[in-house]
């Protein structure tokens, strides 16, 4: 940011483009460094998510400390744990309730592809990406806290690429896929 401002030709302030670009950077910077995740512990992976939030790994260092208990205040849905068929409509609904722009981080094998239940589970949705669009996958069973932090860094990178005029980019209703 600093460099951008120093190198500016004062005349160019009159031009919209420069101003919009730096404002966009500023907004993205603030957003990316205060990612508020939605509390979404569904199974054992949630324990590791809690460990990430606790003092040893301290997710607060990166501004992601406040786990929100309401989707209205959340930017990021960390789906941690097994998504069962019964839970699936609720996951979808909470995702729909989050304000744009929103991100989904799939944490753990269960959420990515069914995990240990991939073959013989009658009750597990084989991947949360069948229900909601996923931005970052963090594999593991469960992933270590460092891996979850790395996933959040990836989310931050995605946030730095946001465009102001493009905030509703992801709100296009997902098409319903009917298997043949």
């Amino acid at each position: 940011m600093g460099n951008v401002l120093e190198n500016l030709n004062p005349d160019s302030f009159t031009k919209d483009t420069v101003f919009i670009n730096s404002l966009e950077n500023l907004i993205n910077l603030t957003r990316a460094n205060s990612v508020w995740p939605l509390t979404f512990g569904l199974a054992c992976c949630a324990i590791e998510m809690m460990a990430t939030g606790a003092s040893k790994y301290d997710i607060d260092r990166f501004g992601s400390g406040p786990f929100r208990a309401t989707p209205r205040q959340a930017d990021l849905m960390i789906v941690a744990g097994t998504v069962t068929h019964k839970m699936a409509p609720r996951v979808k609904r909470l995702y729909d309730m989050m304000p744009e722009p929103k991100y989904v981080l799939a944490m753990g094998g269960c959420v990515i592809r069914g995990g240990p239940y991939v073959k013989y589970g009658y009750h597990v949705v084989k991947g949360v990406d069948l229900i909601v669009p996923v931005d970052v996958y963090v594999p593991g069973c469960p992933p270590r806290p460092e891996a979850l932090l790395e996933g959040i860094f990836k989310i931050q990178k995605l946030m730095m690429r946001e465009k102001i005029g493009d905030r509703a980019r992801k709100s296009t209703k997902p098409e319903v896929y009917q298997p043949a």
């Binding site: 068929h85 979808k92 013989y120 069948l130 296009t172 319903v176």
Partner: protein
């Protein structure tokens, strides 16, 4: 005998046999705990007796669960299902199990909801997983599976790989990006 004193498992079996000799079709023990197998028509009188008897006082229903004997030969339990009531007495400190034999052709049993409120959810779960109808349970919806789920997944003849839950799941995809 003073009340609030733990009875041995044999004494409990004996008390039930003395009172309901015709209804008890078998008895056994596992892990230091005995059980009796009873005819399903008599399950409510027997459970009522166990709860209200002054020396038994089974005031706590720990669990309602089901055993599926599809590929098993059990001598004193010829029917396919056994509904197992795990009882405990807070006052006396003893525990006991009662099994009711339920045939596959007519999977029905009288509900124990009137005796213990805990039976409400225990029977819902048992119904959800094994498809036993508990007549008299006021709220026999599915507990763990979605309401539109077909079949009873813990029955031994339910296919291991499921009945196409994976393929028939309605998927949502990300919109044009």
């Amino acid at each position: 005998m003073p009340p609030n004193q733990a009875l041995s498992q044999e004494e409990i079996v004996q008390r039930i046999k003395d009172r309901f000799g015709n209804a008890v079709t078998g008895a056994g023990a596992h892990g230091g705990q005995s059980h009796v197998v009873v005819k399903r028509e008599e399950i409510i009188p027997i459970l009522t007796f166990l709860k209200n008897d002054r020396e038994l006082q089974f005031d706590f229903l720990a669990d309602v669960t089901i055993v599926d004997h599809l590929y098993l030969e059990v001598p004193d339990l010829p029917e396919r299902f056994a509904v197992v009531y795990s009882l405990a007495s807070m006052g006396c400190g003893h525990r006991f199990r009662v099994k009711a034999a339920v045939p596959e052709s007519d999977p029905r049993l009288d509900s124990a909801c009137a005796l213990w409120k805990a039976a409400l959810w225990g029977e819902r779960e048992a119904h959800d997983m094994f498809g036993i109808e508990f007549t008299g349970n006021p709220d026999l919806r599915r507990l763990l599976m979605p309401a539109d789920y077909n079949g009873f997944p813990l029955r031994k003849d339910y296919p291991l790989r499921g009945r196409g839950e994976r393929e028939s799941f309605q998927q949502y995809r990300r919109g044009a990006d």
